[in-house]
Subunit: 648 residues, 2 copies
């Protein structure tokens, strides 16, 4: 990847970006504001910059006069970085952001490094869950009438020191023909017991020597999206990866509406079926793409929240949504993949990640395992933020967890122009603190259609920090901008005018939207604080934060702290982990050690029901401000705000 | 049961028979010959007897003149014993059987006493395979969010000392609703591990207290007939029993033709399906009849020969019929009954009896277990005779077995008028050694349709002993009877004239029939002798013989020795055991001790392939005589024959 340096004047700020980066994104990344309200489609024509040295590709538009083009004017939203370049933001587009300079933090902090097979081996964490052994058996004859299964088992016992073997019926069915297909030369696939006391099972037999080909599937069963990976168990490499919307979406967007549907006649069966269908689609896709023989896939590991897990296993989840919120089970036995409608060989065992409670599910446990926090001595706060936010706190000695319902604001729900993080969603935002003009970036660089959750957080954080809204989330009605207006008794800030949008209506952020977001972030923050207090800890004890999930990958860390969604902590201590559920599923596919540890981890994880913890409501009410009633908890923000006030 | 004494004159022989016994059967049982060739339907009118004292019911026919009736003449085949009675067999109907008197042995010897639950307990053999425990769980509330499964498992752990519990997915699915049906009062069904190292599985949960109701099904999967029993595990009692033809019969009468059909496209699936359907029919029948709740049935134990077992488990049996005759497996893991198409609760585990080899199957192993011979110190010869005959020899220290193909003669196959043991089959026979007139008894006392296997043995034994046929199985052409005749170059003895039969044709026994029977009995006898020799034993070492199977229940012991089917041994040493396969299945249902022992028994049982044992063919050729080339092996018969010769 070729990287170039972009220098912005008059800010004197430099940033390294990959070749081909859109200039306006480089500016946003560098904390350089350029007015822009069409999301980067080149419609509004506001994002004019002057290329002072070096070159960019494109950026020339009818909205620029020939003279301007001559002078080096370009539209930043249409200019691609092709080499080192120095760009001046003209006065009409630029603001003095020097006040923000000190607060500039990298938008993306380090991702956790996923352990690979070598790491596991080096750290003594490698216990192969499945292995293939190639064997050449003596053929039966008039002196040797050993039954086929006995012949195989005895040989493994005598020549490979394999004891306590079991063989399931589907494999017994295969053995006679497979043995005779290649002159009693066969490869046996052995699944090792998770617990030492268990037995090794012969889960497959194949003619000839296939011992170099052995694969597993790891699967994250999300309420919205299901992701799968095909893993080469010989190398630990991910051969293919694929995600798709969970087919259950048609029956309800969130967990609760799925449970409601499952309670209807035939509902559970229907939800089970479509979830299995989505999984099958993904598995077939990655198997086809990677051209592996499905017969070489030995196992599938599934991680999902408690409701998704129960639905997939066809266990009615009705009691999950009823006080006292009791799940059917937290541990599940290994099951045959075909028994839950998975379109895989009947030798394939499905391992289902255990849960802790109704609202802290297998996806979170998988995250705890995948992130390694259960083996780390540092006190870690693990958060997976979505409609429901799950919080785990602890280290290798102890773990506690809780879940809180944030509502759908982070996914665009309850927000007037809210939408999922899809093409046209405003995902990034900057504000001119003098003209109050916005800089909008949309997913896909197209005209805006709405606002996604991560964009909303950035927007509100910027507005709050620059004083467009106060700590109650109300707009400063005194500012000299017609973007702040009252519409049907609700105050709002116009982000994009109708003609700049895809929806031919003004896109605005309303005070009701802000209120909803404050409630959502208040729920999560108070969840963290309550859990910390319950385990006798304080924010200062947190040695690191792990942010998991899709939302955790996109959220702007500093902005999330500014609005009081996350406790304020040094950004270096925060790690984005991405789909930690999938990561945990993959780890369990690679080594039995994780599968062994997870039982202990699940058992030892203390679950707190926040709705029944009295201090939770107090914490919640105190958090219904930007960032919080108690500004002392956010010293860095407080300092920035006071510096801004001094500058003003 | 009221029993009466019937005295026969001039023989001076008495016999005790139950009230309602047909007089001619009492005569046959007592060894008293009365001419009769219509099978007991009263058509031939030959079986005239005189009631001298006492009374019989019926027996009056148009074939008796009013004077004869007055004199006390009755047709024996139509007279029922209603009290003590003395009957004279007139000269025209009687023969002097005094010569046979000394050889009279009880037709049925003692049956093995099946162990019941108390015996098992007294002998320390009782390890309950399934148990129910009634428990009252604390209900979840805001302070107690234990998942439902954990709640159940923890309670069993804490209050019932139940450790190492597993719960399968079908049971997990049930638990949430069942717990709430009767206020968290539930009955858990626990299946104990067969091996001590195993885990106890919670196989069912039911609302309320059902701990007094727990049942199991035992099933014998025969090639021809399938039998099932419903067993009350609390008392050990058989609550209901039912047999039905194996639906596979339409696809071939014997094991080999079934295997051939299974090799056709879809054939295996079809045979699996119809076997399962027969089982379902039987299970539904006995469940309905006994009015038990199917949900209270905890397990099913299946015993069948190797081919029947493989077909039911949908394991292609093709290699069973191909040299070197290797079965797929001999041990099978516990499987879910629903997985093999059984119409039972999805909590029901099916246990399949292990086999020894392709032709010594789970039915024989079940017989060895059910008869207890594996625990007995006496050297026992266990025989199950049918199309295939299986022979086990040994005691509690060692066991050896072999199988030989007898051909279908014992089931009426290859016999001109052969038929299965059904209504109209000649099942008993006696012969007048002066007039050579027969006495025929048919099943159901109807006019004869054909000859069944047990009837054939009696017939040939009687004919041989009285000199109608010689030791090569050839008729004595010099005898003054038109019943012996040549038809199309084949010599035969006419058993019944066309008008006395149901088929409007003469029913005869031909020399070819006799030849076929000699081959069949020769195969079995030489099988026994070869196996004895292989283990270094002699006939004299045999301390008892156990005759198993339907054929074993009907065969006339003395006659079987007379023709040389069984080695000659004191009749007291012979035990009829009936359906020993079903008996073994029942024992395994009652105690895990049998299920534990059977693994060891199966492993330690030495199998001899007779077709590959050189001495077998020599033994076979020597056995192709009545009873054998070496008459010294049958000293009792030899003595009877010489006495007869002296008398003649």
């Amino acid at each position: 990847m070729t990287v170039h340096t972009v220098s912005f004047l008059p800010h004197n700020r430099e940033i390294q970006v990959p070749e081909g980066t859109v200039l306006i994104r480089a500016a946003m990344e560098a904390g350089v504001h350029i007015n822009a309200s069409c999301g980067g489609e080149g419609v509004c024509g506001k994002c004019r910059v002057i290329v002072e040295s070096g070159e960019v590709a494109g950026g020339i538009s009818e909205q620029l006069s020939p003279e301007d083009r001559e002078k080096g004017y370009r539209l930043a939203c249409k200019s691609l970085v092709t080499g080192d370049v120095t760009v001046r933001v003209p006065v009409e587009s630029a603001i003095d952001t020097s006040v923000l300079k000190q607060s500039y933090v990298p938008r993306k902090t380090a991702r956790i490094r996923q352990m690979d097979l070598n790491d596991l081996k080096e750290q003594g964490l490698f216990l192969p869950p499945v292995e293939k052994i190639y064997i050449e058996l003596p053929e039966p004859d008039n002196q040797d009438h050993l039954p086929d299964v006995t012949r195989l088992v005895s040989h493994l016992k005598l020549h490979h020191d394999e004891h306590r073997l079991t063989v399931s019926l589907p494999v017994i069915r295969k053995i006679p023909d497979v043995l005779r297909k290649d002159g009693f030369r066969v490869t046996a696939t052995l699944a090792r017991p998770v617990m030492e006391s268990g037995k090794t099972e012969i889960v497959n037999v194949q003619p000839g020597d296939t011992s170099d080909r052995i694969y597993a599937i790891a699967m994250d069963i999300g309420t919205t999206t299901i992701y799968g990976q095909l893993i080469d168990l010989k190398s630990g490499a991910v051969l293919a990866e694929k995600g798709d919307f969970n087919g259950q979406i048609s029956y309800g967007e969130d967990v609760i509406s799925r449970i409601v549907f499952a309670e209807k006649a035939g509902g559970l069966e229907q939800l089970q079926k479509v979830a299995a269908e989505t999984i099958n689609k993904i598995v077939n896709g990655i198997v086809r793409r990677s051209k592996v023989d499905p017969d070489d896939i030995a196992a599938i590991t599934l991680a999902g929240n408690t409701t998704m897990t129960q639905l997939l296993l066809k266990i009615n989840p009705r009691y999950i949504r009823r006080s006292p919120y009791v799940p059917a089970s937290t541990l599940y036995p290994p099951i045959r993949a075909v028994d839950i409608g998975l379109d895989m060989g009947d030798h394939v065992t499905a391992l289902v990640y255990p849960a802790v409670s109704s609202y802290v599910g297998g996806d979170i446990v998988a995250g705890v395992m995948g992130s390694g926090m259960y083996r780390d001595e540092r006190l870690t706060l693990f958060m997976d933020i979505g409609t429901n936010a799950e919080i785990v706190i602890g280290n290798r000695d102890w773990l506690a967890c809780a879940a809180c319902s944030a509502g759908p604001a982070f996914e665009g729900g309850g927000i007037k122009f809210g939408m999922r993080a899809a093409k046209g969603a405003i995902e990034d935002f900057s504000l001119d603190p003098t003209t109050w003009e916005p800089m909008l970036m949309t997913i896909g660089n197209v005209r805006p259609k709405g606002i996604c959750g991560s964009g909303l957080i950035i927007m509100i954080a910027v507005m709050f920090e620059l004083g467009l809204i106060d700590n109650l989330g109300k707009f400063n009605r005194d500012l000299a901008t017609d973007r702040i207006r009252e519409d049907n008794g609700v105050w709002e800030y116009v982000l994009a005018r109708a003609e700049e949008t895809q929806i031919d209506r003004d896109i605005a952020l309303t005070e009701i939207d802000i209120e909803n977001l404050i409630r959502a972030k208040g729920a999560i923050y108070s969840g963290c604080m309550t859990l910390l207090a319950e385990v006798g800890m304080d924010k200062a004890d947190i040695e690191r934060i792990i942010l998991a999930g899709g939302f955790g990958s996109y959220v702007d860390l500093e902005k999330a702290m500014t609005i009081g969604l996350l406790p304020e902590i040094e950004p270096e201590k925060v790690t984005f982990i991405g789909n930690s559920s999938l990561m945990g599923a993959k780890m369990s596919s690679l080594t039995n050690r994780i599968r062994r540890d997870v039982v202990e981890v699940t058992r030892s994880m203390t679950n707190f029901e926040l709705s029944e913890t009295p201090s939770y409501m107090d914490n919640y009410v105190a958090a219904l401000f930007l960032p919080h009633t108690d500004m002392e908890r956010f010293p860095r923000l407080k300092e920035r705000l006071s510096r801004r006030r001094d500058n003003a």
